[in-house]
């Protein structure tokens, strides 16, 4: 099969395998860094908003790029996907593996790449806080956030903001579900 030039990043797959295989440690790191950013981002912004944004983007590229092979989608859901970046899946799937996973658990698109979603599932089984988050339906990616800071977007609430139609359907679903639990 010819080399896949559309996803060169997935080929390089730097990421630290050791860290990714210790998702318990990573989810604790996630909880701590989330607190830290929520607390420090307003301060950083007050000093200089433009520098704050750029500093965050650069540090995310460095830190998350090294650990997770981060693709900078700007709306991080790592804790919902077994601390494995779903954007490194060549099909960019956000919810689950496709039906093309090979019997040797490698990728349909890049035969030498282990399936990102199989790894996500196995790692999520070892997590303590967010193990069940992998069963939550993830909304479509907001492509406008590509290359922006997921950390800044998190503080601003941009990463969880969904289109109005999606929001409406999800809230109807939520109400129906809570009604059903009451009935049961």
């Amino acid at each position: 099969m010819q080399a896949n030039t559309q996803m060169p990043e997935a080929h390089r797959a730097p990421g630290s395998e050791w860290l990714k295989n210790h998702p318990k440690f990573l989810e604790v790191a996630y909880v701590i860094s989330k607190r830290l950013i929520v607390w420090s981002y307003p301060l950083m912004r007050r000093l200089n908003p433009r520098v704050a944004e750029r500093a965050l983007v650069r540090s995310e590229e460095l830190v998350k790029g090294y650990v997770f092979n981060c693709q900078m989608c700007g709306q991080c859901i790592l804790h919902s996907t077994g601390m494995t970046c779903p954007m490194t899946c060549p099909k960019n799937l956000r919810n689950c593996p496709c039906g093309g996973v090979r019997a040797n658990v490698h990728c349909e698109v890049i035969p030498e790449l282990p399936c990102v979603w199989v790894q996500a599932w196995e790692r999520s089984r070892h997590m303590l806080i967010y193990a069940d988050q992998i069963n939550v339906v993830q909304p479509p990616v907001n492509r406008a956030l590509q290359n922006s800071s997921a950390w800044a977007n998190m503080v601003k609430g941009l990463d969880v903001k969904t289109p109005r139609g999606w929001e409406l359907a999800a809230s109807v679903e939520c109400r129906a579900q809570s009604a059903a639990t009451v009935l049961e």
């Binding site: 689950c96 039906g99 196995e122 069963n135 339906v137 479509p140 990616v141 409406l168 359907a169």
Partner: protein
């Protein structure tokens, strides 16, 4: 019973033949139509005619295997025009969310009642691997969007749709690809996103499928979604080898390939049909299976024989189906 079960059973979504057959508790049969590499409608009708006789709905593929064929929309336009019941396959590989929502409206306007929401094979599987892959939505998001358009009557942006598309929503599942223990929870996710029926990948491995169905029943999904098992005849030992090495997501156990290889060449096609019939009869006995989906690539003419020999005839006992008048009005003229 859960919300989803209630919403599945509370009202008719589209009222197509497939939906009525499934809701009435009968064993459903669907089949895949090979979209032709031609602009001649006769090529579609030729294939559809042999399938429509024996199945409840016809799947119109959307660039299967990432190869270019007549579009799913084109096939559905021709099929609905002649009164057949198609299942529009919508993949996420070639279109972004704007095009997909537009297509769902167009399809419903043409009289398409069933939609199968897919991720789609990757461009590298086909004959034009240089193409740009889209994958703007994934199959679960696509299901959610389709249900939102139907039930809430809005586009993703929240803008109102004056007449929402009445669609019976389907999704695909591959119980034969890893991670095996995630496949049932993954199905639950699809059901939560709006799937009402499921068509699976080719089933050649009964023990693996039974393991999957146990998981499905443990989650109570067999009461929330109609499950149609994908089956198909192997044409030859060579075809079996090709399918399991080259077609993404197809799993054929060694035993079956050996059985084909040991058969003399001129009897291999017959042996392939026999295997297919055995599999239909075995999956039919499994609790939670509501039908079969026959994929006979370039052997449409064998579908009728397989369904007949598997004991699934008669297919058209109309009296058993409520709401027969609209069915008769829509059914193609077979005289």
């Amino acid at each position: 019973m859960s919300t989803i079960a209630k919403s599945i059973n509370s009202g008719v979504s589209a009222g197509g033949r497939l939906e009525r057959v499934l809701r009435s508790g009968r064993f459903a049969v669907t089949a895949e139509l090979d979209a032709p590499d031609s602009a001649d409608p006769a090529d579609v009708y030729k294939n559809a005619l042999v399938l429509a006789e024996v199945c409840d709905a016809i799947n119109a593929t959307d660039g299967a295997g990432a190869n270019c064929h007549m579009s799913s929309m084109g096939c559905c336009a021709l099929l609905t025009r002649a009164g057949y019941e198609p299942i529009l396959q919508v993949g996420c590989r070639d279109r972004n969310r704007i095009a997909i929502q537009a297509d769902l409206l167009g399809a419903a306007a043409m009289g398409v009642k069933n939609v199968l929401c897919l991720t789609g094979d990757d461009v590298t599987a086909g004959d034009q691997p240089e193409a740009k892959r889209v994958f703007d939505l994934d199959s679960i998001q696509l299901l959610h969007v389709a249900r939102m358009m139907r039930d809430q009557g809005v586009f993703l942006s929240g803008r109102k749709i004056t007449t929402p598309p009445p669609l019976f929503l389907g999704a695909a599942e591959n119980p034969f690809a890893p991670p095996y223990d995630w496949r049932p929870p993954r199905l639950a996710k699809k059901v939560a996103a709006g799937a009402q029926f499921i068509q699976t990948q080719y089933c050649f491995d009964i023990p693996l499928f039974e393991r999957f169905m146990r998981g499905v029943r443990d989650l109570g999904l067999h009461e929330k979604v109609y499950l149609l098992v994908g089956v198909g005849p192997l044409r030859s030992a060579k075809a079996a080898e090709f399918m399991r090495t080259r077609v993404p997501g197809v799993w054929i156990p060694d035993g079956l390939v050996d059985r084909m290889a040991k058969t003399p060449k001129h009897q291999q096609a017959e042996e392939g049909k026999r295997i297919c019939i055995e599999i239909i009869q075995q999956v039919r006995a499994i609790e939670g299976v509501h039908g079969v989906h026959v994929m006979a690539y370039r052997q449409e003419e064998s579908v009728a024989e397989i369904i007949h020999r598997a004991g699934l005839f008669p297919r058209r006992a109309r009296a058993a189906l409520n709401g027969a008048p609209s069915d008769q009005a829509l059914a193609p003229d077979r005289s």
